[in-house]
């Protein structure tokens, strides 16, 4: 017999988790299944809404002013500007103290680990003191064993971007690391647990790190580190370091594996648990069966649990399996496709038309995904809904380039909450 729910969300990233939470808000029985770890650990943990228009205008200080002008088919155009506001409110309620930026409609400019700045709407509290739109002088600290972040180089690059503050960088040795290629979590755990890092009666990791950095502070009001400052006790680590350094302490968001991304994932899964959403991870959805009545509905999906097919039946489905990175959209030499329901993915027939020659040019592949109606139902090639009870959310929705626009998290939140709310409401209307 199939596992029965009201709403089944497929995909465990930001969009899927938001959809499940929004559906659960409507009171139904909600389940979330995901194939593997979400791509959040690749992401910076920042909540971008819209940093640049599709034509490249920006950085936008007010993302909401630009949303009404977005082209037809853009996910924000589909759900409407109000839904974007509501989605951010929804996120702010979930994130609570862990995120900042809710106090203003304006984007912030955040320093990135490549030494640039980028516009974002919400940022982890750990990053809050590191805004490039803040004019206090800053010191950036890199670690010899983390080749991803070169603090002096980032500082030089920030200055060439014209930031309104003085910034210096210094590279130091992270105290207490025995290996040159320790995992990022090792840094975080050393600080979390304040492990003793030198012989007999020596100091803890936080004191040792602060002592290493302190001589370089020289009047800077804030000190930025790569995002490895603790995991479970990140706030405590940061406050402790700030006390010892006499300056505010912040994290510069990093690339994969990204601790801020992982922390966001933990925050979402705690919220799912609190909301009573049933969560099964590590199980890919591999197939579906249509309703026998032939009413254009999905009857059930088939989940692969360690090689065994397990049917899951729900009244409403939300597809949030991600884009090309999350493998919600796949391709071979001949075509681009959506692997579970084979929903229509518009794309040029010739794969040499999927890209342009400039790596950062207007890349067609970056917009691959499902066209949707205003209820976020995927549409077939003739513009009709693929299924009456399927909605899509997040990077699987096509028609926008989240990387160029800096809109990925915002679209996931907006489409996730609209799809989840719609699915939950439809269950109630039944």
């Amino acid at each position: 017999m199939a596992i029965e729910d009201d709403v089944l969300v497929i995909g465990g990233g930001l969009a899927g988790a938001t959809a499940a939470l929004a559906a659960a808000d409507q009171g139904g029985r909600v389940r979330l299944v995901s194939a593997k770890q979400s791509t959040l650990r690749h992401a910076s943990g920042l909540i971008d809404v819209l940093g640049y228009t599709p034509s490249g205008e920006g950085p936008l200080s007010d993302p909401f002013a630009a949303i009404p002008d977005l082209p037809r088919g853009h996910p924000y155009e589909r759900v409407g500007p109000d839904a974007v506001h509501e989605a951010l409110d929804f996120f702010d309620a979930i994130a609570g103290d862990a995120y900042a930026g809710a106090g203003t409609e304006s984007n912030a400019l955040v320093m990135t680990f490549g030494g640039t700045v980028k516009p974002t709407a919400r940022y982890p509290t750990a990053t809050a003191a590191g805004l490039a739109s803040d004019d206090r002088d800053a010191l950036l600290v890199g670690f010899e064993t983390l080749p991803d972040f070169d603090a002096p180089l980032s500082a030089a690059h920030l200055e060439s971007a014209g930031v309104p503050f003085a910034v210096r960088g210094v590279t130091v040795r992270f105290p207490g690391l025995a290996r040159d290629d320790a995992k990022l979590t090792r840094y975080a755990h050393l600080l979390d647990r304040d492990e003793r890092v030198s012989a007999a009666g020596g100091s803890g990791a936080r004191e040792a790190l602060a002592a290493t950095v302190e001589p370089h502070v020289a009047g800077a009001s804030r000190v930025g580190f790569p995002a490895v400052l603790g995991d479970e006790r990140a706030d405590e680590v940061r406050a402790d370091l700030a006390d010892r350094l006499g300056a505010e302490v912040f994290e510069v968001p990093m690339g994969p594996p990204s601790l801020p991304g992982v922390r966001l994932e933990e925050l979402l899964y705690d919220a799912l648990s609190d909301a009573g959403v049933r969560v099964t991870t590590g199980v890919p959805v591999v197939d579906y069966e249509p309703d026998a009545e032939g009413a254009g509905r999905i009857d059930r999906v088939v989940v692969d649990r360690n090689g065994t097919d397990v049917p899951h039946r729900a009244d409403q489905y939300v597809l949030a399996t991600g884009g090309l990175v999350g493998k919600g959209v796949r391709s071979d030499r001949e075509r681009v496709f959506e692997p579970i329901f084979d929903c229509h993915v518009p794309h040029p027939a010739d794969r040499y038309d999927w890209f342009v020659d400039d790596a950062f040019g207007d890349q067609p592949y970056a917009k691959f995904g499902l066209p949707v109606d205003r209820d976020l139902r995927p549409l077939d090639a003739t513009g009709d809904p693929e299924f009456a009870n399927l909605r899509a959310a997040g990077a699987i929705v096509g028609g926008y380039d989240f990387a160029a626009e800096k809109s990925g998290a915002g679209v996931s939140l907006a489409t996730g909450s609209v799809a989840g709310r719609g699915a939950g409401a439809e269950v109630n209307d039944r």
């Binding site: 900042a100 516009p119 010899e144 060439s160 290629d181 300056a247 994969p256 493998k327």
Partner: protein
């Protein structure tokens, strides 16, 4: 009249570098100029096959004999650049028996060790061979790293006093009547300390003798002095797989055809190739059907290739040449032998020879013959020692076998590093400084990157070919930033930025031919990482308009910020 140098070698490919090393070891004063980085032309665009000679054992037995001789020499003098994988000439049911027999007899005639394997025996060696493969001939083919080998020649030439000048494009040949006496070069564009002269400046370099070793570009050079050199550039595509589907070189045993070889190369396998004449070695079409043909045809031999992941494709141009009047129409029929064109004999213009044709495996023998010729022209009587003197890195290969943990690295990384560096491992890796891994895919550490930077300056593509960093599955997505970071502070911020962009675009260029399936997913991840997380696509430092920082949220409105004791945010 005094000359700047005795011999001026044009072209920094395997032939040019081989000649420079040979002549420098004979005590001559040598200068080599190369338009791009070393290996930029044909050498850096081959599939990495160290020929046993088996490939030419039917059609061109002189070449085949020379291949097996050089194959054995390179194993001795360049062991750290060579992996003796062995090779198989595989016969499918539809491939002719006659040719199989001719191949076997040809190998015997040319002194190439060969033995026949049944289909079952061949599949024991390579389990992914097609089930209906009939039989195979086993030969001592190998894989060679053309970058490492070419660079080792250049380094050794330098250590014997040669001047190696990259990013120096020949813009004119200096000719006085019937004598060529040098070139004019333009020092080149690009970031960093990789030029010894200021970018954009020109320099006249005079020489007793000029060797034109520019391969497919030899005609271009000749035209600068009104000499006609009829090279016939022929393009070929190579497709790189993300893993080694085979550990042995797999050749198709049939008379000729495109897409008939798979070469295991480091962590990858390279599929090759096509053979099609082009008119311009710098500008020719790179087409989708060529990539598809590689996969479709070679999956007849190794079926899993049809579903496997490719990480990029690239094209190279052969410097084919045939003496005037032969009239061959199909480039696959043109001999792979090389030709020394002495322009004094041929055109009545003294002071220069051109070298055309040939192939990578026999680069050393070519260099020897040309160097002999140059020495004769200059009245120098020293003899060639390049067949006996190991290249830098191969002096004492026992270091490869010793203690993988010697350098405090994880053992797979130490193994890869010591394989790349050979006998230079200790010198490069022994450091008191932290030595983290910079490129995870290829296991390249900071010390190795820094060693390459010390040779090349701020040219990340030159660092890449020396270390393999950014050549793995992620194609630089994760590591090109950290590679660029290693240039700082020796190079300034702007130079680092330019070098990073150049490497990033170069890595993208080859991936465009692999953009489906896993690699399209990888490309999107790379794009997202660089554009979303770092905002490198809209980098404010590149913007023309200044940002109004004051218009953005400065975070001061927040009440939930951490407030260190006694401080107000």
């Amino acid at each position: 009249m005094a000359r700047d140098t005795e011999v001026l070698v044009l072209g920094g490919g395997s032939t040019g570098c081989g000649i420079a090393r040979d002549l420098a070891m004979r005590g001559l004063e040598v200068t080599l100029v190369e338009r791009g980085t070393l290996t930029d032309g044909t050498t850096g665009r081959m599939h990495g096959l160290l020929h046993s000679g088996g490939r030419y054992a039917v059609s061109d037995q002189a070449s085949a004999t020379e291949c097996i001789e050089e194959n054995e020499i390179l194993r001795e003098i360049a062991g750290h650049c060579v992996e003796m994988t062995g090779g198989l000439f595989v016969q499918r049911p539809e491939d002719p028996d006659d040719y199989f027999r001719e191949k076997l007899a040809g190998c015997e005639a040319c002194g190439i060790p060969a033995r026949v394997l049944s289909g079952a025996q061949a599949r024991e060696i390579e389990p992914y061979l097609a089930a209906d493969v009939k039989r195979a001939i086993e030969v001592p083919d190998g894989a060679v790293d053309p970058f490492r080998l070419c660079v080792a020649n250049a380094i050794d030439a330098e250590s014997h006093g040669a001047r190696i000048e990259t990013r120096a494009e020949v813009i004119d040949l200096l000719r006085d009547g019937d004598d060529i006496y040098g070139v004019e070069v333009r020092h080149g564009s690009g970031p960093g300390t990789r030029t010894s002269e200021a970018t954009g400046t020109t320099e006249e370099i005079t020489a007793e003798y000029v060797v034109n070793a520019t391969g497919a570009w030899a005609g271009r050079i000749g035209a600068m002095a009104d000499l006609e050199i009829e090279v016939r550039p022929s393009k070929g595509v190579m497709t790189i797989m993300n893993v080694r589907q085979v550990d042995t070189v797999i050749n198709r045993c049939r008379p000729k055809g495109d897409a008939d070889i798979v070469v295991p190369h480091e962590t990858t396998a390279i599929l090759g190739t096509t053979d099609e004449e082009v008119s311009d070695p710098d500008d020719y079409p790179e087409e989708q059907w060529e990539v598809d043909q590689m996969i479709d045809t070679l999956s007849e031999l190794v079926p899993i290739l049809a579903e496997a992941r490719t990480i990029r494709s690239f094209w190279g141009v052969r410097p084919l040449y045939e003496p005037p009047g032969t009239g061959t129409t199909d480039p696959t029929d043109i001999t792979r032998d090389f030709f020394l064109l002495d322009h004094a004999d041929r055109d009545g213009v003294s002071g220069m020879s051109s070298i055309v044709g040939g192939k990578f495996t026999t680069y050393r023998a070519m260099a020897e013959e040309i160097s002999d010729h140059v020495c004769e022209a200059l009245g120098v009587s020293t003899s060639c020692t390049t067949a006996d003197e190991p290249l830098p890195g191969s002096e004492n290969l026992a270091v490869l076998e010793r203690g993988m943990d010697d350098f405090g690295l994880r053992s797979p990384i130490a193994r890869r590093s010591t394989q790349r560096l050979g006998s230079r491992s200790r010198e490069v890796l022994e450091t008191d400084e932290p030595n983290p891994v910079v490129c995870e895919c290829e296991g390249v550490t900071r010390a190795e990157i820094q060693d390459a930077v010390s040779q090349t300056g701020a040219d990340l593509n030159a660092v890449r070919i020396r270390t393999r960093a950014s050549m793995g599955n992620c194609q630089g997505g994760f590591c090109c930033g950290p590679m660029a970071n290693e240039l700082h502070p020796t190079s300034d911020e702007e130079t680092v930025h330019d070098a990073l962009d150049e490497l990033f675009q170069e890595r993208w260029k080859g991936q465009r031919h692999a953009l489906w399936g896993e690699q399209l997913s990888q490309a999107m991840l790379t794009y997202a990482l660089h554009a979303t997380t770092m905002n490198r696509d809209r980098d404010p430092a590149n913007a023309t308009a200044e940002i109004d920082f004051g218009a953005f949220d400065d975070g001061r409105a927040e009440s939930n910020r951490i407030d260190p004791a006694g401080r107000t945010p």
